[in-house]
Structures are given as structure tokens and as C-alpha cells.
Symmetry: D2
Subunit: 342 residues, 4 copies
């Protein structure tokens, strides 16, 4: 059985990545592609690397007939997303890739995003899309909220440790290094090649990055008490990749055992042998996440490093993984592509 899907926001990087992945999916058909600013154009004009595929032309969202669409991916900017989704048919199943439905508490949303939420009811209906931890809820969800790409990486590294109670909850530091495509295709001076290439820096220092809202919500829920981590992202001159270096206080071998056990049967999360460290280059273009644990020379401290591809496991791959669950397909369908190296 073939499922028909639509992608709203198909002219951005996560939209293109969805198309790339779905192109190898055995039972999903792309019925509609929307991008209001580029409506009327062919996908090949906007993304020449997809030229060989037989795809519908880009249309405006309001011109899509959602009858017969089994699931809709929404890869729009945040704020736009909630407005668009509020206007979609109420029975349409949706996997949203924006930030709009990640935070369950309207006050939290407003705190981190600066505006009141325009679809509070849906916000509370949405299931948080970190597949490995919300699998059952996602299967029966109508609206799944894709996680932040940094938030996903940090949670893969830390959730099992917080759940198992093996690290100090008051002293967690996450130093994150992310590639450029995480910022999307927007025209900003600091994203120009001449600005970025051959240099790197920290940004959103001191706890101001919005993905902290997700960490606070999720980690506190797991721990049953408020958890606040330190989180500093850095922008690295590479297109794809997130590397999260977590500094935790806990016994390193225990930390490794907890992670290894937690992910033992997960198809996409690989915990490396104790003492090995992952690299973003070894997950590029794939839905895999590699995690490594090392003991620090100071007893009782461990370093946990996670690596994934922000556009795949951090965004569009995750979205397809969730769509597979909703549609009753094999969870790994279309997602077992090996990383591209070099």
C-alpha cells in the first residue's frame, strides 16, 4: 500500500532532505510540494540535485487538495508553522519539523519564542517527536512535533543518564558544535561562505539558545524535578553535523553501561566501545547517531560525546522515522542509507 504525503516548505533544506530520503522509500509517494515563495517552479529549478526525480511542481499551500493525503510534513519556519497547521484539515496527520509544538506549556513557548502561541490547543495535543523515547505515543499521534536538532543530540547523550540517576543533575555541561545547514537557507550575513569558512565561534552563550526550552522540559520531566543544564553551541565551518560534548559527574563505566543498554536494540543509535569517540563525518547524510563515553582523569567525571547529522537524524530523518510509525510502516523504511564519507 502506498501512502500519499505532502510537504509544506519544500524549498528549504529540511524539505529537500525529506524528498531525498522519501525517494528511496518503498511505500510513500509525494503527492504535493508547497513553497509559497517559489510556487510555480519545478523542484529541479529550486534544488537541481533532485532533477532526476519525477516530482510535482511547487504550489502554494492553499492550492493543495488534502483529500487523499495520508500525512503532511510541515517544514516551515516557526510561527508560520502554527498558523498554517491551525488551518489544515482537523483529521490530517501531521509531522511538523518546526519549533512550534515542541514545548507543551504555553508560558514556556512564549518565554523562549517571544510571542503567545496561536494554536494552544494543538500545542497540547502534539507528541514530542524524539522517536526512541516517544515511540508509542507517536504511533497514535495526529500531530508530532519534530525536536530541535541540537535538542535531539543533547537528549540522546543525556536522557538515559538522567533517567538512571547516575549523574549529578546540577552540574551538566553540554558544549555543542553544529554545522552550518542547521541555520537553514536564510540570507544572513554571518552565514555567507566568506564569513564562515575557516573560522568558528560560540553563539547564544549563557543559556539563551531556544533549544534549552526542550532540555528543561524533557530533563525535568524525566527527573521529576527541575533540571537546568549549561548549554553552549558553536558554529563550525562544515555543512552538516552536530557534535555534542557532554561533561557529567558520574562514574564513566556506569555511564557507558547505561547508554549501551538503553540503546542496545535501537536501529539508529550506536554506542561505541568504551573510550572511543565519534565524529560527525561518520554519520553525514545518514539517520545514525554515534555516542562515545570516556572517563576523565579526574575520578567521578565522564565525557559523553554524541554525533549526528542535523538535517537527517536531527530533522528530516527523524520526521520520516516518525511518519513510518504513524503510517504503520517499518520504522527504518527509507532510512538505512549509509553515511557518505569522505
Amino acid at each position: 500500500m502506498t501512502h500519499k504525503i505532502a510537504i509544506l516548505g519544500a524549498s528549504g533544506y529540511t524539505g529537500a532532505e525529506l524528498v531525498r530520503l522519501i525517494a528511496t522509500h518503498p511505500s510513500i509517494e509525494i503527492a504535493a510540494l508547497a513553497a509559497n515563495s517559489k510556487a510555480g517552479q519545478s523542484m529541479a529549478a529550486v534544488f537541481p540535485h533532485l532533477r532526476h526525480l519525477d516530482l510535482p511542481d511547487l504550489v502554494r499551500i492553499e492550492d493543495i487538495d488534502f483529500t487523499g493525503i495520508d500525512l503532511c510534513f510541515c517544514a516551515l519556519p516557526h510561527k508560520t508553522s502554527q498558523e498554517v497547521i491551525a488551518a489544515l484539515p482537523r483529521d490530517l496527520r501531521i509531522v511538523d519539523l518546526s519549533a512550534d509544538f515542541r514545548l507543551r506549556d504555553p508560558a514556556d513557548y512564549e518565554k523562549w519564542y517571544g510571542n503567545p502561541h496561536a494554536a494552544v490547543e494543538m500545542q497540547q495535543e502534539a507528541v514530542y517527536g524524539l522517536t526512541e523515547f516517544y515511540r508509542d505515543e507517536i504511533r497514535s499521534a495526529r500531530l508530532v512535533a519534530g525536536t530541535g536538532c541540537n535538542a535531539a543530540t543533547g537528549q540522546y547523550v543525556l536522557r538515559p543518564l538522567i533517567a538512571a540517576g547516575v549523574i549529578d543533575l546540577d552540574d551538566i555541561i553540554l558544549d555543542l558544535k553544529c554545522g552550518v545547514s542547521g541555520a537553514g537557507r536564510s540570507l544572513k550575513e554571518n552565514l555567507l561562505h566568506a564569513e564562515l569558512s575557516e573560522g568558528y565561534h560560540a553563539y547564544a552563550l549563557g543559556g539563551t539558545h531556544r533549544h534549552l526550552g526542550e532540555f528543561d522540559q524533557e530533563f525535568s520531566a524525566i527527573a521529576g524535578r527541575d533540571v537546568r543544564i549549561q548549554f553552549t553551541p558553536h558554529l563550525i565551518p562544515a555543512n552538516r553535523g552536530i557534535l555534542a560534548t557532554g561533561y557529567v559527574k558520574g562514574e564513566a563505566q556506569t555511564v557507558h553501561d547505561v547508554l549501551a543498554k538503553a540503546y542496545a536494540s535501537e536501529p539508529f543509535i550506536e554506542v561505541l566501545p568504551f573510550g572511543e569517540a565519534p565524529s560527525t563525518r561518520h554519520v553525514r547524510g545518514s539517520n545514525f547517531c554515534h555516542i562515545g563515553v570516556t572517563a576523565d582523569r579526574i575520578a567521578g567525571r565522564a565525557i559523553v560525546v554524541g554525533a549526528l547529522d542535523n538535517l537527517t537524524k536531527g530533522s528530516s530523518g527523524q520526521a520520516l522515522q516518525n511518519a513510518n510509525l504513524i503510517l504503520g510502516e517499518e520504522e527504518t523504511a527509507g532510512l538505512m542509507l549509509a553515511p557518505v564519507f569522505p
Copy 2:
């Protein structure tokens, strides 16, 4: 039916690329992986990006039992390749990725590679592996010689034009820009990141690059007379990609029409609309080749640009395409992966 294959030279980039592609192939199973210098190691240790695959450990070539192997990919350095292949079972079907069997004439081989050929009989038996032009011979070949990656790009751009007689054969210039992985994983000072990154240069100037042997052989055969082109490669700070800019004397619209017609039913060669130009970024990680034709402001001159990924269409993808033909599989099996962008 599943075909069992072996890969000799699995610790290099083309070996890894073969594994990546075959991993999605519906009917090929990797039965043996050899790399003498790294025998005994797991493939995950040598190429962590393939960690999720269930692969045999690396062995020495002499430890492979070729009984039951349907086809052998040989991704060894040139010169080593001819020695190894000469010692393999005589009925084993082989797709060689090295330079050793590309030139049919032993004198040509010695001229370009500096040593007498050690397996002259096989050299003459080998079929040149440019799939689109040797499809029938490849289907029934025992030994297929993969083309040079630069040679493939240049031929896609020029062969139909030479065959059709629509360009001046005495005035063809091919200015080629290739990525770094084409030089393989060898330890050379000029391949270090600190040397290469942020700079570029021409090399093998004046007609000394070995792939000219292939151009001379093929173009002369097509034209029925000696054809000698000018060919200057440049090394570009990017990992994958070959861009070949061909300067030809001929009517541009005719040039476009000839190419469009020649490749009209080819699954992997895309001729862009007249006046458009391809980019390596839009074929990265894929088996596609994009070709564009533009008229120069000087009447009677055309610019033909071709782009492909040296590791895929230029090497391992081509090898798998040929293996599919030999094995009686769908020619495109395992090869329709979309390019990875960004």
C-alpha cells in the same frame, strides 16, 4: 537470487564507496573484504561510517576462498591490480577499478604508466567500462576495466560530439577541476588539509596526465583517426566532484542537440536545458552526471560542462553499474540514491 561478491582493496575510498552503494542493493551480498595492510581489522575500525552494517572482517587476498564468489571488485592501486588479478581464478568475473586494464595497447600502457604490463593477455581481454558506450560488451565480459574518473567525465562531455562529427577534432580543450578524494587515501604532503584547503592549482599540465591515454584511445577509435585533445586538471579544495569544462569549435545548439539525443534514454546522464550549467554539488554522492551546453559569444564555439562525483559515477558507482550488467540485474539497482545537498 543473491549474488555473492568480494572486494579487494576495501580499505581505500573506492572500496568504501562500493560497500556504501551495495548496502542498498537488493540482490548483492558482500562475502569477502580484503585489504592486506589492514587484514584482521573490522571494517568499522577502518571506516567507522559503515559501522551499522554487518560486514565480514578484512582479510588478506590470499585468504579468500573464491568458490561461490560470483563477482570480484578489484579496488587496488594500479600495478598491484594486474598482479593480483593475474593470480585469481580464470573463471572469476572481475570489475577492476584500477588503471591497469583501461588501455588495450601494451605500448600505450607502458608509455603512460612507465612499466611493461604484467598481464598482457588479460589487458586485451578486458572491456572498457564506460557503461553507456560499452553496455553490450560489458554484459558478456569476464573482466571489465573501470575508467579513470577524469576520463569518464571528459568522455561523457565529448564522445557524442566526436561521433557525430559536429566539432573540430583538432581544437578540443578540456579544463578539468577535480576534488581531493580522486587522489585516494594515500599519505602525500600535498593532500594534507592544511596544504589543500582554501587554495587551488593546476597540475599535470601540458598533457602529462595519465587519463590522456584513455582519451587518445577512445576518441581516436570513435573518429577513425588520431585525436589529441588538450587536457589540464586542477585540484579543488572539495572532497568529491569533477567538473569538466570543454571548449569546442562547433555550433552550440547542434552540440546541445547531439548530447541531448545521445543521452535521452540514459538513466544517469542528464543534459540540462540549453544555456544552463551544472554544479558538482548537485551530483555529490550519487551516480548522476549533469551536462550543460552554452554558446560562446564568438560564433561557432561552444562550452560544454559536465559534472559528476568522482567516487560514484567516476568510479565505484560505475563499477556497480557494470556489475549489474554482468550479473543480469537491473542496471540501476543500488544506484538511484539522490545526491546529498547541502
Copy 3:
């Protein structure tokens, strides 16, 4: 004696490069920096790498008092430049880095830039700024028109050959590879890191690049007849650098001798030993231009390759070299900085 200068358009890359170079100049003082869109900001806010310098804040052009300014660098976008310069004091000496005064013929200007020239009188007064060939005129000029960065590279490679009559004027091909900063700091999708990095392509194919106007003007003037070359630029994922590969018909050793002799006493142009080829990485950040000549395997054809840094020798370094001439200073003052490698 210290000369006071102003820089208009100081928030772009060529403006910043001027400041970097002038910072080491023994007798030039920066009296005013203008950038209308960023007026009121400190230079350190716009270019943090210049933070250690004691520089005036950015102002609006109209707020500069030009009394006491000895020379004005104009690093504005073309079209804006001619309007601004027309309104400056008539006795102010100006080195313009834009395209506005490069073409002497108003019809040529309109043909290549699409609009009538707004300061035709000045256009005809301006001296073309290719220092090595217009040194005397520049010394006594009031208005010097900086050359295009691609145009400079191509001319260094070809001018002496055309002047000496040692190459076929009807068959010159210039295949050029330029870095990203040549496109400036403008917000265009194709200049984003995620778009550019790891890929490359040809653009402005077929003779549509505006720098052809300069080639046509200059080469025809030297030859005393119309000369039209083929010129195809390619965008390379590196920030600085232009590599021009010239394909000419002429005897290679003669070509080398002519170039070596022409530049024998030039402080910034280095002709490499016959058979060697230059690299952009070896001129990065400097005012040097390296040129190499190789014989092709086809008798009577030569390949001439030139390399320079588009922001320095191709633009701001050239501008300072010209300013030195105008101000009566040592031509090399502030310009002998060695390239930065790696």
C-alpha cells in the same frame, strides 16, 4: 610626511582589506571611514578583526569634511560609485575600486552595465588602474579606476603576449577559477556557506561576464585591432584567490621568455621557472601575482597560469599601489606583506 585619506564604502570586504594594508603603511593616516548603512558604528563592530586599530567611527559620506583629505578611496558598489564621485570636490584625488570608470567608451559602459553612465566626463578622465602598465599615467592622475579582479589576473597573463605578437589573437581561452570573496559581502543565496562549500561550477558562461568589457578594451588597444577572447569564470569554495588558466597558440618557451622579460623588474609579479605552475594558496593575503608557463604536448600551444588574491592584488592592494604612486610614496609601501600559508 603623512597623507590623510578617506575610505568610502568601508563596511565591505575591499574596504576592510584597505584598512588592513594601510595599517602597516608608514605614511598614510586614515582620517575618515564612511559606510552609509552602518554609519555611527565603530569599525570594530563591523569588522572585529580590526579591533586593535585606532580607527575613526563609520560616518555617512555626506558628513565627511574633505578639507585636508589628500586622497579618497572609493570602495562602493558600481553605479553608486559614479554618483558619489560626481558629487565629491573636483580637486580631490580618487582611487575608485568599483567598475564605474574602467571602460572609457560610454557605449561600452552601457552595453556591459545596462545603464547610461552618469558621469561621462569623469569616465573619460579616469586612468585605468593596472599599475604595471599605466604607471606614468597613474602618477599624475586625479581619478584612477581600479580594474576588475578577474580582469587584472587575465591581463597579467596575456598582455605581454599580445603586445609581443607571439600568440594567435583569434584563439585565446581564459578559464578562470575565483574564490568567494570576489562576490563581496552581499546577501545572495548562492553565496551561503551551505550552498557553496564542497561544490563548484561555471557561471557567466559564453561571454557574458562584465570583465570582458575590460579585456576587449585593453587587448584591442594593445593589438591595434579588435581582440575577443573566450572567458569562463568558475566559482570555487575558497575565500580568496583567482587562478586564470590561459590556453594560447604560440611557442611555449617564447611565451615564457616574453613574460619573464616583461615582469623582470616588477616587485609584485613573479614569473616561475618554465614548466612550474602557481597556486592561489601561495599568494593569499598578499599583493603578489605568480605566473607559470608550460608547453602543451601539442606543438605550438602553451598554457599560461596566473594566480593572485582577488582582494589584494586584484583590488585593495592594487588600489594602495596606485595611491602610493599618486602620493609620491614608494610604490611598494604597505604592500610587501608575505602571503599567509597555510
Copy 4:
């Protein structure tokens, strides 16, 4: 007065960087350049970017006549350095860039470098070369030991804080991101462009990096008690640059004030306004170090980020700064070059 100097190990990156800097120095003359593996070659052959300079050819160390040499830079690999230096004239003033004389305690040296020190007496004579903190000792030193590039960055960020007692000494984390050239010009698979480009990873995790020996020695000396920090370096795909992100427990504004005061009169250390963060791109190619301090959202915690160029301030620039002190020259001579951006 002109000082004659020699550089031993001139074919590596730090040797080349020394030459680049000294080329603009008003009173230092390069009298001899040694590189045993490339003896007999011209410097232009080994480093074409230095082609315009009039430099002595490379010779073997044993062929240098040290009579008349005022100071010798030693840019050799560690272990080789101590052997070579032990054999130099006893009255020759030496600035060593290797790791050999950084640790004062022979036991510490053996612990971190794995072999007994071959010149223990000199090891104890050597002055640690972190200029800003050992200025007086360096002025009268015969042998100065250049610091590790990572060690320099970390110390600029942390020393004044430890000295002032404003941070918790038992909970200091230094997450460091370094560029590729820090690993030198050695032929290692993991330094190839195809391996490194577009990916990044942590290495020497858990407290195994040798520069920790310097941190332990220096921080403990300042604090008057044992200080052990956590230090994890990451390899970033950029040629130059070190970014050190320090996580400390202390009041952020106090942290900023202490740093600002400590470096107020330093010519090369710039403390940014509170809340701003530095970037490696803004110090590239220069001797400057930028430091920024931000408060974390968790009260009592601060993030201190330092950026410098590993080859300049982290190595060769530091060496020249120290040589200036020894030679009685202006400390900043030859070192005020502005960073190269973009």
C-alpha cells in the same frame, strides 16, 4: 642595529610562519635556515609563498656557523629539539618552539612524553615562554621554551582568574577547538583533506593531551596548590585557529573585570565587552588573542572564551615576541600585522 638569527626546522609550518613574520621586522636578518630533510633546497621550493623574499637556502644544522648568530629559533619536533639544542654553543640564545623545555620537572616531562629528558640541566634553565606572564625572566633568559598552542590559549583565559582566586579551582572545564595546522606538516591519514574536511571530532579525551602537563604545572604554581582541570580538544576543519571555551564557577562580571584589568595594557590581548564572544576568524594570521566573558543563566557560573591563531600567537608569533624581549627590541616589532579576514 640588525640582529642575525637562524631558524632550525624551517621546513615546517612554524618555521615558515617565523619567516613570514620576520620578513616585516625592522631589525632582524635571517642568516641561516636549516631543515635536514630538505637541505640543499631553496626556501621557495619548499614554501612557494615565500618566493619573493631573499632568503638563504636550506642547510643541515651541522653546517651552520653559529659565530655571529645572535639568536636561534628552534622549530624542530620534540625530542629532536632537546638533542639538537644540547649540542649548540652554550652561549647561544635560543627560543625553542618544541615541547621539550616547557615542563620544569624531569618526572613530569617523562610522564607526559614517555621518555627521560636528554638535557635535564637545560630543562631547568629554560624560561617558560608565555610572554605576558614571564616577561622579565624572558628578557634575561638564554633559553626560552615556547608554550603549547592549546596551553597558551587556555592560560590566557584562566591564569588571571586562578591568580585572583575568583573561580572554583576544582571545577574548571576547558573545551577546546583547534584548527588543523596545529598538527604540523606530518603525513598522517587523519590529517588528509578528504578525512578532515566537513567533519569534526574530539580527541585525546579524558585528560590525556600533553598540554595538560603545562596546565598542571602553571596553574598549580599560581594557586599554590595542585590544580587539575578537565581539558578536551576537538579538531575542526579549518587551517588556523584555536577557540577555548572555559566553563568556570565564579561570578561572571567579576571574571570579566579580572581579565579586563589583567590585560588592560597588553598590546596583543583584547578583552571584549562583557557578553561578547570572540571568533577565530578575527585573529587569523595575527598575534592577537581575543577573550570574551558571558554569564550563564545559572547564577555563579561564567563562560570564558579565548581565540587566537595557533601558528602565530600560539607559536611563531609568541616566539618572535620573546625574541624581541631577549634582543632588546620593541616587544611588538614585526607583530602588529592585522588579521586576514575574510
